[in-house]
Symmetry: none
Subunit: 227 residues, 2 copies
């Protein structure tokens, strides 16, 4: 359920689709752009973990887009360059420009996946997020966004929400949640304590306008995050 978003910037629709299919099979979230200008926009909206970037683009070249990313707010995103050029100089230039890896077309999808995996092994954990119904939790940033607005949660509220959002629609007993929140010493914590945390969590993440809550009580069983 934790997804990593990959932005594919490629003007050839067939290749874009191919990459999307392979990535989705490995359960990445895929977003696309067909040129550099569109890529900028999508990049700012989606904060992808990884960009797969064709260098030959209309409008704004891959090189320029790469440079723009490296000067941007989220300069730490990973970039895999993809191009028909096979000359060493291009590869060196691409890497020096800030790419993490460089692949030449035609490429084996398996090789691309292996590259994606290798790159995300290094950087992936920092940009993981779960997005459900306008609520976005980013475990490594310790941040929760409700409709793009940051909301402050305490440690236990955060961990509670994170655990529930990792398994939407699954009911967890209070006992299980206690074990989750107090990994070392859960003894003596009462069920009522979980109720109290759920209450404070709800105050922060529920819209009172909505008829049904995100975190729902399952009478006699526990709580679940519905989606």
């Amino acid at each position: 359920m934790i997804k990593q978003t990959v932005l594919v910037v490629e003007d050839d629709q067939m290749i874009r689709r191919l990459i999307r299919l392979y990535l989705e099979k490995e359960s990445y979230d895929v977003v696309e752009a067909v040129n550099g200008e569109e890529a900028k926009q999508v990049f700012l909206e989606e904060h992808p973990c990884l960009i797969i970037l064709d260098l030959m683009l209309p409008e704004l070249s891959g090189e320029d887009f790469c440079q723009w990313v490296r000067e941007s707010e989220h300069q730490d995103v990973s970039i895999i360059m993809l191009t028909a050029k096979a000359r060493i100089d291009d590869k060196v230039a691409g890497l020096r420009m800030g790419a993490d890896a460089y692949m030449t077309k035609p490429f084996e999808p398996d090789e691309l996946l292996a590259q994606v995996e290798a790159v995300l092994r290094r950087t992936g954990q920092f940009c993981q997020k779960i997005v459900l119904d306008g609520l976005c939790i980013m475990p490594r940033k310790g941040e929760v966004l409700l409709r793009d607005q940051t909301i402050d949660l305490t440690k236990h509220e955060f961990n509670l929400l994170y655990h529930l959002m990792q398994h939407p629609n699954v009911v967890f007993s209070r006992e299980e949640l206690i074990r989750e929140l107090y990994p070392y010493d859960e003894q003596g914590i009462l069920d009522r304590t979980i109720d109290a945390h759920i209450k404070k969590l709800r105050e922060k993440i529920e819209d009172q306008s909505a008829q049904n809550m995100r975190v729902q009580t399952v009478r006699g069983m526990g709580y679940k995050f519905v989606h």
Copy 2:
């Protein structure tokens, strides 16, 4: 200045020497091993931040050494695989085994250097500088500029800031920061010590006029550099 040791594991003396020369020209510290067994020993003694690993080795194969490293205490070291094999499957297997990059012989030294740079940039040992909100840190020079003014940081303050700035907005627990600051002997260092370093760091890098600090406390979780 952060010391960067590269371990070259390669049985062919000429290639080993060639790589050493190129790396030393870029002022890396180079250590060598001619087979997997020797590589283990040197690895444990020198704690390199990068391994350039030939796969065809006597005694203990590159694959086995790679696996051993990934199961070891310092499993996060970067690995660039180097081999005469050019088949896609080998490349995929190498990357899946935990390599960060894969190069086939014969290789262009420039390309190898570009790969080294790209890999180290990603694991945070290389980059020339990180600039965020008027604060610029240059790891190779060991220098920090606040609005173009040099500021003096102690070793720990520097490493702390560098690690936080490498991953802006990511929360690091005190425990993680201790591991980062005391890579070989973290035992017995208290959380309070990190607080003390953060305090002194803040005195040096925060403008008291600004309402929110660059280095922020995330209660119950740790610290992060916000951007």
